[in-house]
């Protein structure tokens, strides 16, 4: 029999796939962006069900609440500049399908050769219970992974300064 957790996983998976398909099929670019929202929420739900609570909430905050808002904002600001809505078309269908299949094969290959496969399949102990995941995440970032963490911070600063420079220059020429 299916338990509630399994049903929840499958319903989130179905929601994610259907909304991803909707993003591909719809020709209304803003509807596609909102389809992407549902897709990202579905993935966040899958993370939560897999016990990755912090990752799921971060998905909500960064992708759904941050990046998607920027995408939609961008679409809205550019959409009706000339008075008519932008329609998205389907270009390069065959190369797209080939690339998708290649990535799918790559993922299945990685999954079948990975060491974590067996631990995922065993039902008794999926989630390690030692320590608090959020706490250990914080400690690890500030100790073992300090260098990558600081590098990311520097990269973000460079991006910030760069985008400021680009937007400044455009203003001057205008």
């Amino acid at each position: 029999m299916l338990d509630a957790g399994t049903i929840a996983v499958y319903s989130f998976a179905v929601i994610t796939v259907i909304s991803a398909l909707f993003v591909l099929i719809t020709r209304h670019i803003l509807h596609a962006a909102f389809g992407l929202l549902v897709c990202l929420l579905g993935i966040a739900g899958l993370y939560l069900l897999a016990g990755a609570e912090f990752l799921g909430v971060t998905q909500l905050l960064v992708y759904a609440g941050g990046i998607l808002v920027l995408i939609i904002f961008g679409i809205m600001l550019t959409n009706r500049a000339d008075g008519k809505t932008i329609k998205a078309g389907n270009h390069r269908v065959i190369p797209g399908i080939l690339a998708g299949l290649a990535i799918f094969l790559l993922f299945t290959q990685i999954y079948s050769q990975s060491s974590f496969r067996d631990s995922l399949r065993s039902t008794d102990n999926n989630i390690p219970l030692m320590g608090h995941p959020v706490e250990s995440l914080g400690v690890e970032i500030m100790t073992r992974y300090l260098l990558p963490f600081e590098l990311i911070a520097v990269i973000l600063l460079v991006i910030l300064v760069g985008s400021l420079f680009i937007s400044k220059k455009e203003n001057d020429t205008n």
Partner: protein, 365 residues
Amino acid sequence: MISFLFFLGFLVFYGLIAIYAERKISAFIQDRYGPMEVGYKGLLQTFADILKLLQKEHIFTFAADKPLFAIAPTIIFVAMFAAFAVIPLSVNITGSTVATGVYYAIAIVSLDILGILMAGWGSNNKYAIIGAYRSVAQIVSYEIPLGLAVLGVIMMSGTLDLQEISMQQSIFYESATKNTESYLFGLKFLGINVGKYGGILSWNIFRMPPLIIGFVIFFITSLAESNRAPFDLPEAESELIAGFHTEYSGFRFAIIMLAEYGVMLLTSFLAVVLFLGSWSTPLPNIGALKLAEWTSGTPGSISADLWGIFWLCLKAMTLVLCQIWIRWTFPRLRVDQLMNLGWKYLTPAALIIIFIVGLWKLALL
């Protein structure tokens, strides 16, 4: 489950009294009477308004993007209401016991923006879309000082779990797993452990005095998050009619209004849990007068629930009252003033608070 049912009922009840209070307080501030006709002193005015709204037709304008327009109020309400899941009500009723409580609350509330964008865009009306742009720009900017102000509390308490944060500030501090000691004004060398006195002394703003400024920053940003004056540019009546909900009517308009008042309540609850002692009593034990114990009940029994809910709601309602008071006292900011305040004053101030809290915790606690 109990907390869900409580919040659903409380939100509707609060909506009724908050709208009535808003009208009466604004009338008092502007030297008017406010609603007086329906019921004693106009007490039934809100019921009459809601009955009127429920009977009204759902109007879809001809050029509206119908699916977006229809679904937007639901998204706005759900994103707001989902955050109530993690707010603890008393020592027994914890809400959802997720380890990432406050992080989740901030993340899920930010989905509100998408509902506002859908509403503004779906209306296909220039006032609505300008209102939506302003609203989103404002909320995105003010989320940064909001998050930084919360971060100060997180550094103090060492956890994201709202129930754990509440426990540390109450006289049941022994049930908390870490940072259980609270010293008078955060000064350990005085050697006065205020945990057993409880009350107002063990609130986070007094356990760590720099957080008083953090609380002020949180309160200002919470005004901006709920689109209220002096930050009500998204729905500035004199410029934009009603901003992003210009085209809404009937039940959908009622849902948007309820969500707006709900955000006020939510930010007040969060402020109370994070800074003002959550569900714990403000009265300390003074010698033989065990005021804190008398007004807290015994853990595990219904008395603790009743006292916890009473204190939590009383504090939150006081903050809502302050929000209403500020709305009718201060003039609206200009767009550039709004951005200046958010980015040039509140954000650096919140960063400085984090720095001071860190130093204080290293040196004095």
